[in-house]
C-alpha cells in the first residue's frame, strides 16, 4: 500500500509540470492587434477575399491556412464543388496579431463570422447548405480533436480528476465517481452552450481553482483518518464540481462562430473528445498506480502529506491569480 504515496509524488510532479509550466499566456498583458478578413462568394465555391482591417504586422505576413482542397492566392480563393468546408487557421498568431475575424459571405444564406485567436487558433467552416456527410465528418473530426486538445491542455481539470482518483482509489467507486463528473460537466456544458446558463469566465475559472483546493483539503482529511465529504459521497462531489468544470469547457466553444443548427452535434463531438482525453488520463494514472504497486516503489512516511499540500498550494496560487483577474484587467 505504501507504493501509492510514491506514485502520488510522481504523479504530482507530472501535474505540477503541467500546472506551473503551462503558464497561461493570458496572464501576460498585451494589446490585442486585430485583423478582419472578408471572403465573399462570387460563384459557387469561388471567393474573393480582402482585408477590411489589416493587422498591424501587414497582410502579406499573415500565414493563413485554408482547407486542403481550397486554393488560396489572395484576393482569390477557389474551393471547387466541395465549397468552403474545413479548418481555417493562422499559424503565426502572437503578440503582434492576437485576433483575426474571418467573415464569410455566401451567395445564399446568412453571412457568418469566425474568430481566430491565440486561444482558438483553428476555426471550422461548415458550409451553408444542408449538412452533407462530409460536413458531419468534418464536424466530428474537428470537434472531437478540439475536445481532446482542450482536456489535455486543461491542467486544472486534470488535477481535479487526479485528486478524485487519489481519494476514491480504483474499482467501482472510481467508475461511479468519474461517471458522475462526466454527467455533471456534460449537463452544464450543454446548458451553457445553448445559452441556458451564463457565468462570467473569470470568476468561473477562480471557482475551478477552488474546487481543486477543496479536493486537496479532502486528501489531507483522509490522511488524518477523518472521513471527508468526498470520501463519503464522491459521486455527489464529482457531479457538483463537474457542473462548474462543464461551464469552463463551454467557454472553449464560445467565439468559434458556430452556427446554431450545428451546435448540438458540435457539442456532442466536443464532449466525446473531452471524454476520450479524460479516459486516457484516468487509464494512464491507473496504469501507473498498478506499475508502482507491482514494483513496490515506496516513499518515506514523512513525504506522504506533501503531495496534498502541493496540490492545495498550486490550486490556491491559481485561485488568487484568477481572482486578481476578476477585479483587475490584466
Amino acid at each position: 500500500m505504501r507504493a501509492i504515496p510514491y506514485l502520488r509524488l510522481a504523479l504530482l510532479a507530472l501535474m505540477l509540470a503541467l500546472a506551473v509550466l503551462m503558464r497561461p499566456s493570458a496572464l501576460s498583458a498585451h494589446e490585442a492587434a486585430m485583423g478582419v478578413l472578408e471572403f465573399r462568394e462570387v460563384r459557387p465555391g469561388a471567393f474573393v477575399g480582402r482585408w477590411s482591417i489589416e493587422p498591424s504586422i501587414g497582410a502579406s505576413r499573415v500565414d493563413l491556412r485554408v482547407p486542403p482542397h481550397c486554393f488560396l492566392r489572395l484576393p482569390e480563393m477557389n474551393c471547387g464543388a466541395k465549397g468552403l468546408v474545413g479548418p481555417i487557421t493562422i499559424t503565426n498568431l502572437g503578440s503582434n496579431m492576437s485576433v483575426v475575424l474571418i467573415k464569410v459571405i455566401p451567395i445564399e444564406g446568412e453571412p457568418r463570422s469566425y474568430t481566430i485567436s491565440t486561444a482558438n487558433p483553428v476555426v471550422s467552416v461548415l458550409g451553408t447548405g444542408a449538412p452533407t456527410l462530409e460536413v458531419w465528418l468534418e464536424l466530428a473530426r474537428t470537434y472531437v480533436n478540439y475536445g481532446i486538445d482542450h482536456i489535455l491542455l486543461g491542467a486544472d481539470h486534470l488535477l481535479f480528476v487526479l485528486g478524485l482518483i487519489w481519494i476514491v482509489g480504483s474499482g467501482w467507486r472510481l467508475v461511479k465517481t468519474i461517471t458522475a463528473f462526466t454527467i455533471g460537466h456534460s449537463a452544464s456544458l450543454a446548458a451553457a452552450a445553448f445559452g441556458l446558463i451564463g457565468v462570467p469566465e473569470r470568476p468561473l475559472n477562480a471557482c475551478i481553482a477552488l474546487s481543486i483546493a477543496f479536493v486537496g483539503v479532502e486528501i489531507v482529511k483522509q490522511q488524518r483518518g477523518e472521513i471527508g465529504l468526498t470520501a463519503r459521497y464522491p459521486w455527489i462531489v464529482a457531479f457538483s464540481f463537474g457542473l462548474v468544470h462543464g461551464i469552463g469547457f463551454a467557454s472553449a466553444l464560445a467565439g468559434l462562430g458556430l452556427e446554431r443548427r450545428l451546435l448540438p452535434a458540435a457539442l456532442l463531438f466536443f464532449n466525446i473528445g473531452v471524454e476520450i482525453g479524460q479516459l486516457a488520463f484516468v487509464l494512464l494514472v491507473l496504469a501507473l498506480i498498478w506499475a508502482h504497486r507491482r514494483l513496490g516503489a515506496v516513499v518515506p512516511r514523512w513525504g506522504e502529506a506533501l503531495p496534498a499540500y502541493l496540490i492545495g498550494s498550486v490550486s490556491m496560487f491559481w485561485f488568487f491569480g484568477r481572482l486578481a483577474r476578476v477585479f483587475v484587467v490584466i
Partner: protein, 205 residues
Amino acid sequence: MKLNSTRLVIATAMLLAGGNAAEAHIVAARLGDFYMGVVHPLTDLQDVVLWTATGVLAGTLGAAKGRWLIALFPLGLLVGLLLGQVFGAASTQLADAAMMLAIGLLLAAAAQVPTVLLCAMAFAVAVIRGAANGADLAPETDRLLFAAGLTCVGYAAITLTMALTAVFKRTNSDSATSWRAIAVRALGGWIAAIGLMMASLALAP
C-alpha cells in the same frame, strides 16, 4: 524477394528514424511544447529501442533493483537535455549503438547485473537520449516545457515497461529455459543486432 524485404525493413526504419522532428513539431503546433516533449522520443527509433531495452533489462532483474530507475531515468533525461543545451548538439549515433549492443547482450545472456551497474547504464542511456532529444529543438521552442514533457514521458515509459516486464517474467526464479525467459533473451538478441547494425552504419566511411 529477400532483397525486397530487406529494402522494406530499411525503408521502414529510416522512416521511423526520420519522422521524429516533423511529427513532434506538428504536435507542438497543436498542443504546445510540453506535449512536443512527450511525443518527441516516442517517434524516434533510437529512443523507442533504448528505452524499451533499459526497461526490460531492469524489469527482468526484479523490482528491488529496477525501482531506482523510476527517479534516475527521468533525472538522466533532464541532465542530458541540459548538457545538450550547454555544450551544443553532438552526434549520439555511436553511443546509442554501443548502449543497445551492451544492453541487448546483457539481456540475451540473462546476466545478473548489479544494481549500481544497472543504474549507471540507465542513467547513461537517459543522458545520451536527453541530449539527442534536445539537439534539434527550434529556437522558439520553450525549453522548460519541453523538458517537463520529456521527463514525464521518461518516467511513465520506464515505470510501465519495468512493471510489464516483471509481470511477463512472473518471478525472479523463473527457469532460464522457460519460454518467457527465452522470449526475453531473444528480444535481447534482436536489440543487440540492431545495435550492431547501427554501429556499423555509424563507423562506415
